[in-house]
């Protein structure tokens, strides 16, 4: 036999799989990690715009105005949310993130004119104070959930699930459950905290209708109520949320991130954002509420091009989480201290990883001070520095969005439409329900 045969790696039992099996055999516990799916998936990169030419004319890219104002929650709420950009900040908890990071998110969102969102740990005073528009999550755990903060919220997001772990509950390992985090969650400090996956006071969609009604009664029908779900049976779930009375539906695709969950969840549950979005739009159209119930899409949104494509496919806004953390320095080789860059590669190495590969949010030992509760690490990311970075990033996303919209001849980013897009792969064409580039073919439809 040749060396080639002797050293042939098995496709099914390759080095990655062998490591997984041997790790499982060694420890008897599944792997837990942070961030989102790492596997290759169809994404918005598989779509391109048919920008203007002879058959369409563009707007002047540097001169003519392109509106990015976004209004959410017009269905029932007396006070809908008004934003300057359709790029919103997704729910991330105090606990998974430091209080400094939460403050930075609020400052940047306020400067740019968008909203930020609480998470599975309640509302911190820093967050409320720094955020002009704050969405308050009502999660299955109900950690820190109270009527005073509810009345301070500009919108309420009832969370049924998230893209990284649809059907699963939250998780915060003991090293991140500091005294303050534990106090807000009414739990002993230092325990491995497992959040519920179902709400404590309702179960099915009929109950959800009554729950939404209760929240409206408590808040005197003032603020919008969002319903957030992980992307699985999207068409059916969106219809149920609409029927239950949601003002806004939030769909989080499988690329959506988390601070900690089982690896098997992250990589093997839910459907890609690209596939989820058209299903949600279809559901709204079939219920005749497209435009009446607003749609936010999240899960792996990275660039202004992603935002533009999401809007063209029918979303009213996007929510970003992981990209926000990366703007703050997640997976960077260094952090900023007193205006100087400080190398952090040794701290990555202590976690068994390196910049560019880290997903160790669950450990609480974030080398760049973002997903931590340790004071010495939290000091590596100050609210002022983080807010400036994030403001810049949000600004770029909005500029890229309006640039593409103008090139498509749109004076308002919400005028982008499916007809502006084609797909580069058959898979993307089938999922996004747009033609394969150079053809009129939409797999499954034409």
């Amino acid at each position: 036999m040749s060396d080639h045969i002797h050293r042939e790696e098995s496709y099914s039992f390759n080095r990655h799989t062998l490591e997984y099996i041997q790790h499982a055999a060694e420890h008897g516990l599944y792997d837990i990690r942070g961030l989102g799916a790492k596997r290759k998936l169809p994404t918005f990169d598989d779509l391109v715009f048919l920008t203007a030419s002879a058959s369409r004319y563009p707007l002047e890219g540097y001169r003519e105005k392109c509106v990015s104002k976004t209004v959410l929650g017009t269905r029932f709420a007396k006070k809908p949310i008004e934003l300057e950009t359709p790029v919103t900040i997704a729910g991330m908890s105090f606990g998974s993130l430091s209080a400094s990071v939460k403050e930075a998110l609020g400052r940047a969102a306020t400067e740019i004119g968008t909203s930020t969102t609480t998470g599975d740990g309640g509302m911190t005073p820093e967050e409320r104070q720094s955020s002009k528009t704050l969405v308050y999550q009502c999660l299955p755990s109900r950690y820190g959930f109270n009527p005073d903060d509810l009345r301070k919220a500009n919108a309420i997001e009832l969370v049924i699930g998230q893209g990284a772990k649809p059907g699963g509950g939250g998780m915060l390992l003991g090293q991140k459950v500091s005294e303050r985090v534990a106090g807000m969650r009414t739990l002993p400090a230092g325990i491995d905290q497992r959040s519920a996956c179902r709400h404590p006071d309702w179960t099915g969609p009929d109950d959800l209708t009554i729950k939404i009604n209760e929240l409206r009664e408590i808040t005197d029908w003032q603020v919008p109520i969002y319903v957030k779900m992980g992307a699985t049976r999207v068409r059916e779930d969106v219809k149920l949320a609409v029927k239950a009375g949601a003002d806004v539906v939030v769909i989080d695709g499988m690329q959506g991130g988390t601070a900690a969950t089982q690896q098997c969840f992250i990589e093997h549950a839910g459907i890609p954002t690209l596939a989820a979005l058209p299903l949600a739009v279809q559901a709204l159209e079939e219920m005749d509420v497209f435009g009446t119930v607003q749609l936010i899409i999240s899960g792996g949104i990275r660039s202004g091009a992603d935002v533009a494509k999401a809007l063209a496919l029918g979303a009213d806004a996007v929510a970003i989480g992981q990209a926000v953390l990366m703007a703050l320095g997640c997976n960077s080789s260094s952090y900023c201290q007193d205006g100087e860059r400080v190398d952090a590669t040794d701290d990555y190495a202590k976690l068994g990883t390196a910049p560019g590969y880290c997903h160790h949010c669950h450990t609480g030992r974030c080398p760049v001070g973002i997903t931590t509760q340790l004071p010495e690490l939290e000091a590596r990311m100050t609210p002022e520095w983080g807010a400036k970075r994030l403001k810049n990033y949000l600004q770029v996303l909005t500029m890229e969005l309006t640039t593409l919209a103008r090139a498509c001849g749109k004076s308002n980013v919400h005028h982008l439409e499916r007809e502006d897009l084609v797909a580069l792969t058959i898979e993307a064409a089938a999922m996004a329900k747009v033609p394969l580039a150079g053809t009129n073919w939409i797999p499954g439809q034409t």
Binding site: P147, I191, P200, N213
Partner: protein, 244 residues
């Protein structure tokens, strides 16, 4: 002479009712002294809600000292997120009565359906009859006293506070308990993951006696069994298997 404000849900909508309770009631200066409603007597406005007829979300989100009597059976989420008010339902209630209660008292003269007192942070919920499954689920510091029995999965993931059950408890009591304590006078069908019976101390007897007194329920506190967390699931370990 006492002045009772009567609000008739045969003529008002629930939204109009709650709007009144949120914004006008806190400014009412009348004095109530009505024994035998919730047991609370004080210088607070007294409201009677007539014809609840199983409607949902009655008297939710209150945040003012007041005495509220709901005359009849009511639906889901009655007295949700209550602060300060003392609310009595003279009938049965549906799911999730007094969910997320923060303070004050909610009393149900009849029976309660599922998830009574879910995620309650403070205050006292009294159910004079039976409570269905998941009573006290996710509770975070409130006290719940049930005159009758509770259904399955009661006090599931309960974090803090006290659940007193004068009757029996259904299957999987106290599953995944944190720091809440359960006291049961009758039979316990089975314990959930990480829950166990522990010896009653003098402090436990005193705690039960105090809550029974506050609830107006007569029962010998020495008859109760104490159930609390083994705390074996507080940290991940491979022996726990399906418990995770």
């Amino acid at each position: 002479m006492d002045h009772v404000i009567q609000l008739d849900l045969g003529r008002l909508t629930v939204r109009e009712l709650n709007n009144y309770l949120h914004h006008e009631l806190p400014n009412v200066g009348h004095v109530s002294n009505v024994p035998g409603s919730s047991g609370h007597i004080g210088n607070v406005p007294h409201v009677e809600i007539l014809n609840p007829n199983g409607m949902h979300s009655i008297a939710v989100g209150l945040d003012a000292p007041s005495e509220i009597d709901i005359r009849g059976h009511a639906g889901y989420f009655i007295a949700g997120m209550n602060k300060q008010a003392h609310i009595t339902v003279h009938g049965n209630v549906g799911w999730s009565v007094a969910e997320n209660i923060m303070s004050g008292t909610v009393r149900v003269k009849g029976c309660a359906s599922e998830c009574a007192g879910a995620s309650g942070h403070g205050g006292l919920l009294v159910i004079e009859g039976d409570a269905s499954s998941r009573c006290g689920i996710s509770m975070k510091g409130c006290d719940i006293v049930v005159g009758g029995s509770v259904g399955h999965m009661s006090a599931f993931m309960a974090q803090a506070g006290t659940l007193v059950v004068c009757g029996d408890a259904g299957p999987n009591l106290g599953d995944s308990l944190y720091e809440a304590t359960i006291y049961v006078a009758g039979k316990i069908h089975s314990f959930g993951a990480d829950a166990q019976e522990e010896p009653m101390t003098a402090a436990d007897v005193a705690r039960v006696a105090d809550l029974l007194t506050k609830s107006g329920i007569t029962r010998d506190p020495k008859l109760f069994k104490r159930v609390a967390s083994k705390r074996s699931l507080y940290h991940w370990h491979s022996d726990a298997g399906q418990e995770y």
